[in-house]
Amino acid sequence: MDYQKKELPKKFSMTGWALVASGIVIVVVSYLVNPMRASFNNVIALMFMTGISVGALVLVALEHLSGAVWSTPMRRVSEFLAASIPFVAVLAIPLLFNLQGLFQWTHLDVVKSDVNLQGKTPYLNTGFFIIRYVVFFAVLFLFYLIFTRNSYKQDDTKDQSYTSRNVKFSAGFMPVVAIVLSFLAIDWMMSLSPHWYSTIFGIYYITATLLAGLAATTFAAVSLSEKGYLHSSIGPDHYYSFGALLFGMTNFWAYIAFSQFMLIWYANIPEETTWFIMRWTGGWKYVSIAMIVIRFAIPYFGLLTARAKTDPKRLKIVSIIILAAHLFDMYWLVMPTYSDTALFSFFEIGFPVLITGILIVVFSFQAKKHNLIPIGDPKLQRGLDFHL
């Protein structure tokens, strides 16, 4: 292994800090101007960032579990992205003080006069909600620590048993993360319209999460590899794998989203259709149509050909579009509860800026501490030799 660690430029982390600072300013201002709207944006931000960081962690686990080798040289990128998990948890803290503003089911008087909501109180109550939130993020952070500790230790010892340990933990992690992500989605997004329900909602969010984690990893890995921070053996075949996975997951997202829409549209039961009607009136119609375009059509046609999947420039552009689409998707899921008409202003900008900043800062911090490729991983050489 001929790996010489290259430090990321100082400018990189400075940009991150600048973004964090400006993000915090906008967020604070928006909280002061309109705390309601800021809270809803905070939910969007929470779910958006969960997507990136937990999605990246799932990718790490998936690599261990499936025994994939092509992604091993880029695994550190996912691990660094996943390091932002504790910050996601922090992001939710302002919301815990404003649950009343977000969720109808926290209003005891409303629940009292609503038989349907009364039935849900064993699940939808403030105490249990906060417990779930704490447990979920604690569990995610615990698994993050396990995976990365083993991985970093392996850099020095080159001991294969760390890999097999990680494989075992990954097997345990998958069912846990499926449950955690499903219930996070139900808690923070589905219960915004407390009467509405859809069994596929958890899978919808899991898909979105994976897509976001993958897109963020792709963007970071391709950018770093192009500038020579990773290994010179990483080439078109690795890029192709990223491109193919992004393409496949985009299609899978479309499949899940269409299935949910189709079944509710076809059965036409009022208690279910309200949710889509909310998203088809008062300007939300155009947001919904735009969703189809930027979340499905653009990535689909952008990555359709084999050449596009190996083109680093194309991959970077499409993964940024997918990340934007992920944010847009969360906006589409959350905001119609807040407002009957589609709306956009500086409120919606603050959190994404802050999150980008956090991700960059965390990434550069991790990159300073650790090697950018897992030099001790037994699969590394195979990963570098990977050919389709």
């Binding site: 080798v69 092509w70 038989v115 349907n116 909501l117 039935g119 849900k120 699940y123 294969q160 048993s161 890999t163 097999s164 097997a171 998958m174 069912p175 499926a178 449950i179 499903s182 139900i186 009467h195 329900y197 859809s198 069994t199 596929i200 909602f201 958890g202 899978i203 080439g235 794998s241 193919a244 496949g248 299609n251 499949y255 899940i256 299935s259 949910q260 189709m262 079944l263 509710i264 076809y266 059965a267 039961i269 208690e271 991983d377 037994p378 699969k379 050489q381 195979r382 030799d385 050919h387 389709l388």
Partner: protein, 456 residues
């Protein structure tokens, strides 16, 4: 337990056979006369076919009133079996297309066989809706052609989508399978001395010359077909799930159905492929081509999809409660505690509990044990469809229109017929065509590909 060496790839083929040895081994079943076991097995399956034919004859002559379907439970064994068989078929396309796209090289040894199983399973599946129409000789009307009634089919009906999905699936699987067979048939053509065989192989290999100018297009088409088959396999069981989920019957109308059905299909399909492969590798001495590692991988896939199915069961239960909808809640309580609770608990124990044993490496690699679990999974998946269809239909909204479902002997007869058909076709397949893709296995033995020394 030995530790895995992660620096080395697990070999696809064990024992370092040469290319010509592989060809030799794979063509043994085609070159030798059938053995005793094969004869016994085909006798059994033919008898099953025969017994089933009697049931079919009664069904044709007297109509589907011979079955147990009744007024609240209008769909019984027929649709249960249909969904079951379509599900079995899904593993084949998953192995041949999705694992191909994911570059999972362990699929090489088992892809051909799984594809053949897909085709046979879809044939069995197609039988049931065709019969269920009552007058099967009028099934041509299911296709939109300019007929004398100047009517078109109902394009908004999920039952029509089924017609399109199943026939597309059958056609594409057949093409996929055949395209894969062409080079192998050419190899067989060039090695056989038998004149009749030679002319048959010549006709079906179309004059394949192993030319690189052809391989180039061939490989491209294989990727394209895999690319098409992947969403297709999802769409087929999704559309099957739409048959139920677009309705408003409690327990049927739930949005998780599409991915849940697909996972279930893959689950049962893998169990069936694993079961049959165990026999094939034993009987035809293919143990170093269809290795224990391959079977272990299949078992690992089975835990994953088994967990997905378990997730769906749990999510359905949770949402039924969360929805606050009386009918939904009742349906799920009725499933677990009602008159068909036995079916529900068979389903849970076979589908969710039994694959949990595969967490243990030792059990995952024990042939006898994995075979038993495979059988359990198949039983469980059959009962899953039974639970979904029968419990929801027998007790829906109005207690005054509830009713029980009891299958008749003719229902079982047709089920036996489908099993007979499936296994007879498999037995014929293993004696007439290469059960393993010769070209693909040759391409994956060590040293088969040029070394990448000197970079790229």
């Amino acid at each position: 337990m030995t530790a895995i060496d992660y620096t080395q790839e697990i070999p696809v083929v064990e024992g370092r056979p040469t290319a010509s040895q592989i060809e030799e081994i794979v063509s043994i079943p085609m070159d030798t006369r059938p053995g005793k076991i094969w004869k016994i097995l085909i006798t059994i399956t033919s008898l099953m076919l025969l017994a089933g034919t009697v049931a079919l004859g009664y069904t044709f002559y007297y109509g589907i009133g011979m079955w147990g379907n009744n007024n609240p439970v209008g769909w019984g064994f027929d649709i249960v079996n249909f969904v079951f068989w379509v599900g079995i078929g899904h593993a084949g396309t998953l192995i041949s297309a999705i694992l191909f796209l994911l570059r999972q090289r362990w699929r090489t040894g088992i892809a051909r066989f799984a594809e053949a199983m897909t085709i046979f399973a879809v044939m069995c599946a197609g039988l049931f809706p065709a019969l269920h129409t009552g007058r099967f000789w009028l099934d041509g009307y299911l296709f939109p052609y300019p007929n004398q009634n100047h009517l078109w089919v109902n394009f908004t009906s999920p039952l029509l989508w089924d017609v399109f999905a199943v026939s597309t699936y059958f056609t594409v699987s057949l093409i996929f399978w055949y395209v894969g067979l062409i080079p192998d048939l050419a190899s067989l053509r060039d090695r056989t001395a038998n004149k009749l065989k030679k002319s048959l192989y010549s006709i079906f290999s179309l004059g394949w010359r192993h030319s690189t100018r052809h391989w180039q297009h061939y490989e491209k088409v294989y990727v394209i077909l895999a690319g098409f088959a992947t969403p297709l396999v999802l769409s087929v069981h999704t559309i099957v799930s739409f048959d139920f989920a677009v309705s408003v019957i409690p327990g049927w109308h739930t949005t998780i159905f599409p991915p849940y059905f697909v996972a279930g299909a893959v689950f049962s399909g893998f169990a069936m492929v694993q079961n049959v492969l165990i026999f094939v590798r034993q009987a035809f001495n293919l143990k170093h081509i269809i290795t224990l590692n391959h079977l272990e991988k299949m078992n690992q896939v089975m835990i994953v999809v088994g967990m997905i199915v378990g997730y769906a069961y749990a999510m359905e239960f949770f949402t039924a409660w969360y929805s606050g909808n009386d009918f939904e809640m009742f349906t799920f309580i009725n499933r677990a505690l009602g008159p068909y609770a036995w079916a529900y608990w068979i389903m849970i124990s076979c589908n969710v509990l039994s694959p949990q044993f595969f967490w243990f490496k030792k059990l995952r690699r024990s042939i006898v044990f994995m075979f038993i679990i495979g059988v359990f999974v198949n039983i469980g998946m059959w009962f899953e469809r039974f639970v979904i269809i029968v419990t929801s239909l027998s007790r829906d909204f109005l207690p005054s229109s509830w009713g029980m479902y009891t299958p008749t002997i003719y229902d079982f007869g047709v089920l036996i017929f489908s099993f007979g058909l499936f296994f007879t076709l498999i037995l014929l397949f293993v004696k007439t065509l290469p059960v393993v893709s010769i070209a693909e296995v040759k391409a994956s033995i060590p040293g088969a590909q040029p070394s990448h020394k000197g970079g790229h």
